[in-house]
Amino acid sequence: MNGSIAASPENPILLSRVAESAYWAGRYLERAEGMARLIKSHSELVIDLPRAGGLGWEPLLAVVGTELGPEYDLHTEEAVVDHLAHNHGNPGSICTAIEGVHYNLRVTRSVMPIEAAELIIELHTIANNDGRPANDRRTRRQWLTNIMRSCQTLSAILNDTMTHDDAFSFFTIGRQLERADLTTRVLDVHAGVLTGRPTDALAPYTGLCWAATLRSVSMLQAFRRRGVSASPTATLEFLLNDNNCPRTVRSCIDEASRWLLELPQNHEAITACAAVGSFLEDADVEELAIGDLHGFADRLEVAISEIHQKIHTTWFRPATTAVLS
């Protein structure tokens, strides 16, 4: 088989189905954590901003590309948060993502460390706790923090104890692509509020809004340490292209590429990553900050999902498969 790296005791055979589950375990884990952080930072922003500014809860729905179902009467804060945190019928909710982690980790059980299996049960228990703690502002913060912390602990256990084999590659690639995707979506949604002409009431608070954007992808502190003033262009450039902060789109794509290199027949997926890389390089942040950030983010999302498509057709559902001797 040309260009294939054979399985070895250090890198044992990985079933395509298990690889797919490792990848989705990574994506869902990142999704649960990202969604929790997003709701948390949006809550803080809403509390800070004057009500006249008209910043509601709908932008959050737009991030995950979802609408409230008929079970919700009004677009109240409680309805939106419930939908995004607790609604098992919403494929983008925290609870659904944790179900996804739970399911996929059961499938990948044999390639995952046992400590991780025990923690996922804990995470699952937190997520399915009685009541709907995210809906109430008083309990929301603590619950979201617990979710984020458990997700991070789970990531850390997997990072620190899992053999760096194919299964780990797929898990990591899944996490990185989901993270890149989420950062892009956040930009997309905040684009409406933050670029062009903010409403008069919101104008004094654009700095606050940009800070919230950074915070919702956990990059505010990293950005401030750079000592650059929080202009829209600097923020955008940072979110898209910074090499060092692990949550920028560029870092995520670079990291995904790095792990893709470990896999056989990676050509198409690597090429798709490179395409995202050039797209980011060519971005004119000056113009985006006052122009069509929305369209840009859309195109970036499409480019990222192209990587996913290539991974899917190369490893999970290949058209033909060669026999390994």
Binding site: S4, A7, I13, L15, S16, R17, V18, R106, S110, V323
Partner: protein, 505 residues
């Protein structure tokens, strides 16, 4: 003896104490320690349940249209068998499985057992698990049922007997192993003081046995555990066993058969599979041969097996002897194939298709247990003295319509073991499922899975029907209770007693 056991008594044979409430030989030390623990025993039970939840040990219950994962029910009071008795039991199991494997090999080939008049041809042909597709095949070493789990019960006289054999896809071994993990954690002190035989070697022996089945001896064998998938009630067990023996946990869709060779689809291409430990029923193994609607197996699997290119454990068709009518002949098989007397007796069994047996059964329905010949998990079983008139009438009609499908056995008063029920120690009926690995070096798990009927008086031990489980300790008789004195904690209160010794059963 400590007084808090004085209230404990059983109407039948009790595993821990004799009729005078004294511990049986070999049980003294455990009896003493449990008595010393007093109310702390309840805390250990809670600790065990917390462990189970945090380890995620579950089994799946199916209700209408949905399934729920339930925490595995364990009772911390161990079931004890002395090492000398255990030697006899495990010898008896090896003898039984040897004869059963010879029987299966025989019925798919020469059928001498029929030709020599031991088993009527009709009963064999009518066995629901007799697979003509397996005729003429000779699995390596003549072994068909590589992994089996026979259910043993003890009657009121203390006699151990075999209630049924499970030669298809017996489950429960992971719970046996987990129960030990749990009891080691909650009774760490007892494990220090007593010589409790370890059972960790089961999975190692399983892996070794499976490896030896590989048709290729020039490469490290690739072993796969074929599971029906994540929604199967035993998925937890499949995952645990695969992990422990280093097998790939595969589903039917992961397999592909090309030119009678079985491959699994991996991210690096197709990889040949040598041995499949299948936890999928015969009829779902190969849609090209059995049920064409099955997605749980792989087309071509049977052909690859017949060609000798892959080993299947257990072999298809091994369940032929699970038929309860054929079960009743096992003592004859042991005499016929091995020229030995069976060490472990069967439970006396009436075969309803034999006119005189049927007559007896129909005249005594209310004092017998009637079982369908080819069901498992307690399905379709009617216990005569607990059935309504209507149920018995219905049963009578069923037996008269299809006598081949029914057997009857006396209602056994299964032995009891002290069990914590809402903080009170009370006798509950139990059985035992040891696991036997058949090969040229047969192996019996050290002990087995003890299942307990948690409802008072109930004889149904299945976890799907309110059953629980216990760790099973094989202990040397030589340990004396005085060895334990130094650990005794004075001044502890005692566990609440179970009534006045009036424990209806």
């Amino acid at each position: 003896m400590k007084s808090d056991w004085t209230g404990y008594s059983s109407i039948t044979f009790d595993e821990l104490v004799d009729g005078d409430g004294k511990p049986r030989t070999g049980n003294e030390a455990v009896f003493q320690r449990l008595a010393d623990l007093g109310p702390a025993l309840v805390e250990r039970q809670r600790a065990a349940e917390a462990e189970i939840r945090s380890m995620g040990i579950t089994f799946t219950l199916y209700t209408e249209g949905s399934s729920i994962d339930r925490a595995w029910p364990i009772d911390v009071i161990p079931r004890i068998i002395t090492a000398s008795e255990w030697n006899t039991i495990s010898g008896g199991l090896i003898q039984r499985l040897k004869a059963l494997n010879m029987f299966i090999e025989d019925v798919y080939n020469e059928q001498n057992v029929v030709n020599d008049g031991i088993l009527p041809a009709q009963w064999l042909e009518d066995s629901a698990n007799f697979r003509t597709e397996c005729c003429g095949v000779h699995p390596a070493g003549g072994v068909w049922a590589h992994i089996s789990g026979s259910d043993l019960v003890r009657d009121a006289t203390g006699q151990m007997m075999v209630l049924e054999d499970n030669l298809r896809v017996p489950s429960g071994v992971s719970y046996m192993l987990e129960n030990r993990q749990i009891s080691k954690r909650v009774f760490a002190d007892l494990f220090r003081d007593l010589d409790i035989h370890p059972l960790d070697n089961y999975t190692e022996e399983l892996g070794k046995m499976l490896s030896k089945l590989s048709p290729r001896d020039d490469v490290e064998p690739v072993i796969a555990l074929l599971t029906p998938g994540i929604f199967n009630s035993a998925y937890y067990e499949h995952g645990m066993l695969a992990t422990q023996i280093g097998a790939h946990l595969v589903e039917g869709s992961d397999l592909q058969v090309v030119d009678n060779i079985v491959y699994m689809k991996t991210v690096r291409g197709l990889v040949r599979v040598d041995v499949i430990y299948r936890r999928v029923d015969d009829l779902f193994l190969d849609p090209a041969v059995f049920r064409s609607d099955s997605t749980l197996g792989a087309a071509g699997l049977m052909a690859a097996w017949r060609a000798g290119n892959v080993a299947l454990a257990n072999a298809p068709g091994a369940g032929v002897a699970d038929d309860k009518v054929l079960y009743s002949y096992v003592p004859d098989f042991i005499r016929y194939y091995l020229n030995e007397e069976p060490t472990l007796p069967n439970v006396p069994t009436w075969r309803c298709m034999e006119p005189d047996h049927r007559q007896h059964v129909l005249a005594n329905l209310d004092s017998l247990v009637c079982k369908p010949a080819n069901e498992s998990g307690g399905k379709g079983v009617t216990i005569g003295n607990r059935a309504t008139e209507e149920e018995l009438d219905h049963l009578r009609t069923e037996i008269e319509t299809d006598p081949r499908n029914w057997i009857a056995q006396p209602i056994l008063s299964l032995s009891t073991s002290p069990t914590l029920c809402d903080g009170i120690i009370a006798p509950r009926h139990i059985d035992l499922r040891p696991f036997v690995l058949s090969s040229d070096e047969p192996f019996v798990s050290v002990g087995g899975l003890t299942r307990v009927a948690l409802r008072e008086g109930s004889l149904i031990v299945n976890s799907s029907q309110g059953g629980g489980s216990k760790d099973t300790w094989i202990v040397d008789e030589s340990v004396r209770p005085d060895r334990l004195l130094e650990h005794r904690q004075p001044g502890q209160q005692q566990v609440q007693r179970s009534g006045n010794g009036q424990n209806p059963s």
